[in-house]
C-alpha cells in the first residue's frame, strides 16, 4: 500500500481509538444506571452496536457479492470475504453478550426466542459459508461461489431485524414508529457506541482487505516463479 493509504489508515485507527475512549467514558461514567435492570444494562451499549456491525458487514458483503458477479473484479471478492469474516466476529460478540445479559434478567442463558433463533441461524450460515469457500480450489469459481453465498445469506438479515416486530418475543424493541424509547443521555451513549463500532469495522475491513490483496499477490508471484524454477 502507498504512503497516502498508510497515513489515511493511521488517521482512521487514531480516530477509532479516540472514539473508543469517549464511548467507554460515556458507558461507565456519564450514563445513569437503569432503574430496573441496574448496572448490567450497560452491556446494552456495546451489545447493540455489535449486532449493528454484524448487519452492516453482511450488507457490505451482499453488495460486494453483486458487484463481483457483475464486474468479475477480484477486489469485490476480497471485500466480500473480509466483510463476512468481520461480520461473524461481531455477530459472535452480539450473541455472547446477549446471553450474558439474559442470565440475570431472563433467568436463562438462552431461549428459543425468534430474535435469538434467527440470529443464531444467520451466524451459522455465515460461518458455514466461510468454511465452504475453502473447499473450492479454482480462484474464480471460489469467488463466484462466495458471491452467491453472500447474496443468498443476506435474505436472513432483514428477518433477524424484523423478528421482534413480526413475532411474539421477549426481546425488547429498541425503537418504534414513535422513535427511540430511552432517555437522552442513554441515546447519546448508544449513538457514540454505534459510531465507534462502525469506525472499528472500517479499520478492520481496510486491514483485512489488505491481507487478501497480499495473499493474491503472493499467489501471483508463486505462479511467476514456477517457470524460473523449472
Amino acid at each position: 500500500m502507498n504512503k497516502l493509504g498508510d497515513s489515511w489508515l493511521l488517521s482512521l485507527i487514531g480516530l477509532t481509538g479516540l472514539a473508543v475512549i469517549v464511548s467507554l467514558y460515556l458507558v461507565f461514567v456519564y450514563v445513569p444506571t437503569e432503574l430496573i435492570m441496574g448496572i448490567v444494562q450497560r452491556i446494552f451499549y456495546f451489545h447493540v452496536p455489535s449486532a449493528w456491525v454484524g448487519f452492516l458487514a453482511f450488507l457490505v458483503a451482499f453488495v460486494a457479492g453483486i458487484a463481483y458477479l457483475m464486474r468479475r473484479e477480484p477486489r469485490w471478492d476480497m471485500v466480500e470475504v473480509s466483510s463476512i469474516e468481520i461480520g461473524v466476529l461481531f455477530s459472535t460478540i452480539a450473541l455472547v453478550t446477549g446471553s450474558i445479559w439474559a442470565r440475570p434478567i431472563w433467568n436463562t442463558w438462552w431461549t428459543w426466542d425468534p430474535r435469538l433463533t434467527t440470529t443464531l441461524v444467520m451466524w451459522l450460515y455465515y460461518v458455514a459459508s466461510l468454511m465452504l469457500r475453502r473447499v473450492v480450489d479454482s480462484e474464480d469459481r471460489r469467488a463466484r461461489f462466495g458471491a452467491i453465498l453472500s447474496i443468498v445469506g443476506f435474505v436472513n438479515v432483514p428477518v433477524v431485524f424484523l423478528a421482534i416486530r413480526l413475532w411474539r418475543t421477549i426481546h425488547p424493541v429498541m425503537f418504534s414508529s414513535e422513535g427511540f424509547e430511552m432517555a437522552p443521555g442513554m441515546l447519546l451513549t448508544l449513538g457514540s457506541s454505534l459510531v465507534t463500532f462502525t469506525l472499528l469495522y472500517l479499520c478492520l475491513l481496510v486491514i483485512r482487505v489488505r491481507i487478501e490483496y497480499l495473499s493474491s499477490e503472493l499467489s501471483r508471484l508463486r505462479q511467476l516463479s514456477i517457470p524460473a524454477r523449472s
Binding site: V40, V96, L204
Partner: protein, 51 residues
C-alpha cells in the same frame, strides 16, 4: 453493584475477541509480507544468475 460480574464478563469477552482478531490478522499480514519478500529475493537471485 448487583450483577457486576455479568457486566465484567461481557466487556472482557468483547475486548478479548476484538484484540484476538486484531492479533490474528496482524500475524497473517506479517507472514504474508515475509513470504512475498523472500519470494521476490529468490526470483531476483535467479534472474541475476541468468536461470
Amino acid at each position: 453493584m448487583k450483577n457486576f460480574w455479568y457486566l465484567f464478563a461481557a466487556y472482557t469477552f468483547i475486548w478479548t475477541a476484538v484484540f484476538a482478531y486484531i492479533y490474528t490478522i496482524a500475524q497473517r499480514q506479517q507472514t504474508l509480507e515475509q513470504d512475498i519478500k523472500a519470494l521476490q529475493q529468490a526470483m531476483e537471485r535467479r534472474i541475476g544468475k541468468g536461470d
